[in-house]
């Protein structure tokens, strides 16, 4: 008889834990051995003993936290099965951001795939999602409602360029998460033939340089110099979402504020943030792709994590797939909200504000 899935993976205070292999997946607190799906700060934290992840994810963590972010590290080769205690583990592309991977864990004839965050839409900055057949599929549900259907990201970037044409004297400030989204927007702009320099908020610089070193062409990027802001009319400036309404954005000439996020599909969400040009560009699966992926994996059981679990669990039920929500704490409740890896400074960013403004 096959091993029961709940024996392979259990939920602990630190996150998902595999007793037979003695490791955690994306733990939210320091642990002895961690397998990391991708470099977003709520999944990849510093302070673990041993870290096992794709080479890109390890390099992202080193850029974010410094070279000493863990004691020992091991590079995972995509598709290669490795024995760890009594289980076999392999990494497979997830299509979310550079280096993102799903982690397949097999024991006693039962395979569980921890997808991490994933998307099926094409993205010039990372490998495409690979379907891994499994018995239990652990899926995210950030956009787990049928109202979330992401349009073609290229059309959204064209809308940005149309706006630049209509308002050539105004700076277009685009809020985008510093890891993944920002570089994808840059790459999409280049694909549309935009060849002017793209200006970057300081917080985007290191990760963008890393993407370039990894061989992803992003064209000319220039860090915004504070004193130069008034002269950047007609330019496209990328910054972290929290900066679009920050003091920082004030000195640009009559800025148009845009925000690249799957949340922008809902008007109330966009209005709440004072966004004038919502761009529906997401690095997560939309509803249709969540459903498609569940079917593609052939899993008989689905565990649903962070996001709108209820609707996806309901959908599985109506399609004869066993499903349950997995209430894991510590991951961005807002889905795309990437918690600031640096501790918030008490002076101007208490928790309430981080949740309210950085989401």
């Amino acid at each position: 008889m096959a091993t029961r899935p709940t024996e392979i993976l259990s939920l602990t205070r630190e996150g998902l834990y595999c007793p037979a292999g003695d490791f955690h997946v994306d733990p939210v607190r320091p642990v002895a051995r961690a397998l990391i799906t991708h470099g977003h700060a709520d999944h990849a934290r510093s302070g673990h003993g041993a870290v096992w992840a794709t080479p890109e994810t390890l390099r992202i963590m080193a850029v974010r936290y410094g070279e000493d972010f863990c004691e020992t590290r091991q590079e995972a080769r995509l598709g290669e099965a490795v024995r760890l205690g009594e289980v076999t583990v392999s990494f497979h592309p997830a299509g979310h951001v550079l280096g993102s991977a799903q982690i397949a864990i097999t024991q006693g004839g039962c395979r569980i795939v921890v997808s991490g965050d994933y998307k099926r839409a094409p993205d010039p900055t990372c490998l495409g999602f690979e379907v891994v057949p499994c018995d239990v599929f652990i899926t995210e549900a950030t956009f787990g409602l049928p109202v979330f259907r992401h349009p073609d990201a290229r059309d959204e970037v064209r809308r940005l360029l149309d706006s630049v044409r209509l308002f050539p004297e105004r700076t277009h400030i685009v809020g985008a998460y510093a890891l993944g989204k920002a570089q994808r927007v840059m790459a999409l702009l280049r694909e549309e033939g935009f060849c002017e320099p793209i200006y970057l908020h300081g917080a985007m610089e290191k990760l963008t340089e890393l993407y370039k070193r990894e061989g992803i062409p992003l064209g000319e990027t220039i860090k915004v110099v504070a004193a130069e802001r008034p002269k950047l009319g007609g330019r496209i400036v990328l910054c972290p979402p929290s900066a679009i309404q920050d003091l920082w954005s004030r000195k640009f000439p009559d800025p148009v504020t845009a925000f690249a996020s799957g949340w922008m599909r809902v008007r109330a969400r966009a209005r709440q943030k004072g966004v004038e040009l919502p761009l529906v560009i997401s690095d997560h699966s939309d509803w249709d792709d969540l459903c498609r992926t569940i079917r593609d994996t052939g899993a008989g059981e689905v565990w649903v994590t962070h996001g709108q679990e209820d609707a996806l669990v309901h959908w599985c039920g109506t399609h004869g797939i066993r499903a349950k929500p997995l209430h894991m704490l510590g991951y961005g409740d807002e889905g795309e909200a990437e918690p600031d890896p640096a501790p918030a400074t008490a002076a101007d960013a208490p928790a309430a504000d981080a949740a309210g403004e950085a989401a």
Partner: protein, 568 residues
């Protein structure tokens, strides 16, 4: 329809007037006829058809989508039209060989098709037609369609701005469009042809057209030395609503009577008592007021009539409408707007005397020898001829005797000199980020005054919100203050420190006080703004709620001059 929908979508997010204007111009320039005309009608509130009920929309969507999933989605999105637009799935593919499998995909409807169909399609046929449209449109198109057919379309631009955009296609001002507007109907093809230089100016066939009003500038202390008092006439500035009464005969010889608001909205229906008084051919510019026993009532009283939807005989009896005229724009087919003010004034007095109608009289001139004398009249209108009507006077108007009637707000010929505003010292309680250029500034302030708390101590109760009255430098300092004194955050709103020992006092200037069921304090101010920022003043010295209640009582006193009026 998709283009119109994307315009609406973009306008909804754009706070800046000039940017809205540019988006509108871009649309009107590129959208074909009759599409742009119907769009203009939608934006100016001139489309009419039988609206679809929300139940119909819900039925359509639940036939396509798992109702439980729709319920969760609707709950999340919070708006029926938007949730439906987003969740609407692609039309199911008919089985090969089944009837209809060769049917071409549904065509994206034009706005014209939607409007024309809604005007004549049978009730039973409507749901299937809407479903076909939803299949053909993209999600923004679906959203706009659903908002339009349920009568919930909010465009985020004023009719005036839409007309400004149309006028600008031919280098005209909005008033040029207003002049011809009331003779036209959707889809306004002759209007577009004219502004684009491809057609004649549409001749207004309306015998009682709207004429865009002439507006004034506020006068400042430094203006007086430059002005010669002998060159001006003065009138009381009445605290009512500006209206235009227009009358004439149509081609069939029928009498046409219209009352227009200052933005050109036809409000005749709300004032049948006044419309009956328009027995003349011509156009009067004046102030709509409530008169009881020949005494002008305060704005608070007028407000009570304006707030009522149904015009009942009782309302007409208790709140009789009256017009105090101050200009004559046309008489018996003659346009008088080119004449100097002094001459129009003479014609006005003769014209109104000829009407001999109790509902219409002339606003008297206020005699004055020099600016000091006028200042005295403004300070005490009761003693300067305003008599018992003085509480309904909110200052004086100055009109250059030689000035023709010019639509818009030309600088120089007309000035308004409003009475001093009321002032209270209040304490800042909350601050909210502004919009557009101010989106990174905490520029909207909720302020409160003291009252007795249930436990016997004193507490601050919010009484209003102000977002202007300060300079850019002051705004920067206020913004810094808010950021450094925040105690709580609620999305874009911050609560600041306030109490008996801490907090910032704002001197608030305002024009009056009304009762309000929306405010915890029970009162609402008219036009509150920040008069001064009292960095120096301790919060314990800020005013109490009684200060506002006294002003309110003063405004309400005239409501019951003997007889009781219920439901006030």
């Amino acid at each position: 329809m998709n283009d119109f929908a994307h315009l609406l979508d973009r306008l909804g997010y754009e706070p800046r007037r000039n940017a809205k204007l540019r988006l509108l111009q871009d649309f009107f320039r590129h959208a074909p006829d009759p599409e742009r005309g119907y769009a203009l009608a939608a934006m100016t509130g001139h489309l009419s058809f039988r609206e679809a009920k929300p139940g119909l929309i819900r039925g359509l969507v639940e036939a396509r989508v798992d109702p439980e999933l729709f319920r969760m989605s609707y709950h999340y999105v919070g708006d029926l039209a938007e949730a439906t637009a987003l969740i609407w799935p692609a039309a199911p593919e008919p089985e090969p060989g089944a009837p209809g499998h060769n049917r071409p995909p549904p065509q994206v409807p034009s706005l014209a098709e939607v409007v024309e169909t809604l005007g004549n399609v049978g009730k039973a046929e409507l749901p299937a037609r809407i479903a076909l449209w939803l299949d053909a449109l993209d999600e923004t198109g679906r959203w706009a369609l659903l908002k339009l057919i349920t009568g919930e379309l909010r465009v985020g631009v004023s009719a005036r701005l839409a007309k400004t955009a149309v006028a600008s296609l031919g280098g005209f001002e909005a008033d040029a469009v207003e002049e011809v507007w009331h003779g036209l109907k959707a889809p306004y093809e002759p209007l577009f042809a004219w502004v684009e230089g491809k057609g004649e100016r549409p001749e207004s066939l309306n015998p009682a057209p709207f004429r865009p009003p002439m507006l004034s500038h506020p006068i400042e202390d430094e203006d007086f030395p430059k002005l010669d008092p002998g060159a001006f006439g003065a009138e009381w500035k009445w605290d009512g609503i500006r209206v235009q009464l227009a009358g004439g005969l149509d081609r069939a010889g029928q009498r046409v009577a219209r009352i227009y608001s200052r933005t050109g909205e036809d409000i005749s229906g709300a004032f049948p008592d006044l419309t009956d008084a328009i027995t003349f051919a011509g156009a009067l510019d004046g102030e709509l007021l409530i008169l009881r026993e020949e005494r002008v009532q305060s704005f608070n009283v007028l407000q009570q009539r304006l707030n009522r939807k149904a015009v009942t005989p009782k309302l007409l009896r208790d709140f009789p409408a009256h017009v105090r005229a101050y200009d004559l724009l046309a008489a018996d087919g003659e346009d008088l707007r080119g004449l100097p003010f002094a001459e129009r004034r003479t014609r006005l007095e003769a014209f109104v005397a000829g009407l001999d109608h109790a509902r219409i009289d002339v606003s008297p001139l206020v005699p004055f020898a020099d600016w000091e004398a006028l200042a005295a009249a403004r300070r005490d209108p009761a003693a300067a001829g305003g008599g018992p009507d003085a509480d309904a006077i909110e200052g004086v108007m100055l009109k250059r005797l030689t000035s023709p009637y010019m639509p818009g707000r030309p600088k120089g010929p007309w000035w308004k000199w409003k009475r001093e505003p009321y002032r209270v010292d209040a304490v800042m309680m909350y601050a909210q980020r502004g919009h557009g250029k101010r989106s990174s500034f905490y520029s909207d302030y909720t302020f409160g005054v003291w009252r007795d708390a249930p436990d016997g101590s004193e507490e601050l109760v919010p009484v209003g919100k102000a977002y202007h009255g300060f300079t850019d430098e002051e705004l920067a300092r206020l913004d810094r203050y808010v950021r450094n004194h925040t105690v709580k955050r609620f999305g874009p709103v911050r609560e600041v420190e306030y109490g008996l020992r801490t907090g910032l006092v704002l001197e608030i200037a305002f024009e009056g006080v009304q009762r309000s069921t929306r405010h915890k304090s029970g009162v609402a101010m008219r036009f509150p703004r920040v008069g001064r920022i009292r960095w120096d003043k301790p919060t314990a010295e800020a005013d109490r709620i009684e200060a506002l209640e006294r002003i309110l009582e003063r405004g309400e006193r005239e409501i019951r001059p003997g007889e009781a009026i219920d439901g006030g």
